[in-house]
Symmetry: C2
Subunit: 265 residues, 2 copies
């Protein structure tokens, strides 16, 4: 991908996320690069020893790297050559922190201070929904098997589908309506694409993979969100090209998983 994009006016960004060609939380970062048409390396998916690179980065012994960066709690992380202390590489972790940093630099953060605050707030809310979707299949312990917490998952998923999904989707529907004059239902903030849009879009995409019956049945309650917004984001020319490419990884056994028993019965 590095070579196929327009001439570089940006540092050579490096995304550090789990290998295995899964979307995961890395996808929120990939989407902003793709939407902006800015080149990035997806390090662990491009290198032979991708898993070792990530495991070294999050080593429980690490107190930081040789570029004066602090340790990383969990992937995704973003390395930006030349932007750290004393001209060394900067390393940032936490999805919202990376989005906030990149948003400013890729023109996807909003047009003024007010819009910047709202874009970050809406993206954080979508990431909360993303976390809750994950917890439907891991309500007790993230490091244990789904099969060992299936009973609790059934309860958690029921509450998620019946209470949490409508609450979050209703909220984003209202955000779009409140911004309709400028955004025409296509943008959550202002009149152009932001990382709030790409983040909400990916969560909606994941929910439809994990809970097809629930979402299929609920979509019509949120017409601006699913008919106007969702379609418009994925028709954005750069994103459309990306989503059709093999750089877009399919959902499988990550945050969004399809367990028929957790979907609407």
């Amino acid at each position: 991908m590095s070579s196929s994009k327009k001439a570089r006016t940006h540092p050579q960004y490096e995304l550090l996320y789990w290998p295995g060609k899964m979307p995961g939380r890395g996808e929120f970062i990939r989407l902003v690069f793709e939407a902006a048409g800015v080149s990035y390396r997806d390090v662990s998916n491009e290198e032979e020893n991708g898993m070792k690179i990530i495991l070294d980065m999050i080593s429980p012994e690490s107190t930081g790297d040789s570029d004066s960066n602090p340790p990383v709690f969990a992937p995704p992380a973003l390395r930006i050559p030349g932007e750290g202390k004393d001209g060394k590489a900067l390393l940032i972790y936490q999805t919202p922190s990376i989005l906030s940093y990149l948003g400013d630099r890729l023109g996807l953060a909003g047009e003024d201070e007010a819009e910047k605050a709202w874009v970050l707030s809406h993206a954080l809310t979508a990431l909360d929904l993303n976390n809750e979707a994950h917890d439907t299949h891991h309500p007790i312990a993230v490091a244990e098997f789904y099969e060992d917490q299936k009973e609790e998952s059934l309860k958690k998923a029921k509450n998620f589908r019946e209470v949490r999904i409508p609450k979050f989707l209703g909220f984003f529907e209202r955000v779009l309506k409140g911004n309709e004059k400028q955004g025409e239902g296509k943008y959550l903030v202002g009149s152009k694409l932001s990382f709030a849009d790409t983040t909400v879009w990916h969560v909606l995409n994941g929910l439809q993979f994990a809970f097809p019956k629930e979402l299929g049945s609920r979509k019509k309650e949120f017409p601006t969100l699913f008919e106007t917004f969702y379609q418009s984001v994925q028709e954005q020319s750069r994103l459309k090209e990306y989503l059709a490419s093999d750089r877009r990884f399919p959902f499988s056994q990550g945050i969004y998983r399809y367990y028929p028993e957790l979907d609407r019965q």
Copy 2:
């Protein structure tokens, strides 16, 4: 509190959080104002109709307010007169978004772009731990009673104590060690207080309230965190004065709750 602080050089910030004199997520915002010595109104705790103000703000019918702000998903929110569109009031929601906005303006966000990114990342990680602490007593459904999800809570709390607490605390211990040359164990980033410090401090404070046996027993594994950092933050002169005042609300039945059965047995 508004009148007791130094002459105002800031807008009259308004914190909008649940009334009832509880810390909650509002506390992360209160702490940065208090640490900076900047005046704020804690609206719902100062007004007669505090609950109505918050419920109106998060009304499931709202598409935003008359100042062109979007709807709010959940408290806390922050209103800043004069800083919104066309000189109107700006309204921001989501704790990390508010911290990021205020951090810049109150001098608690880090000294350069690298530090700013790290401060936000560490604060987000502490807020993730805060969410997981909440979920120990509400693993299935946030809007239902603890008593109705107690069995699942016992499992979740066990995993939280044995796996998650050491993972997070070990991480913050390593962040402090990696920054020891500048921060002397007292600051997570650089050589002065940031909202990462106040946020991590409050989570440590809450964990000791909710899990006194677990934390009492684990503290010695993380000496920089509990002996140097924790003590230093709460000895910072403005915070010390605040923590001894009646503006600091006690923990009770919020995010941090003391259920002996969820603590180490």
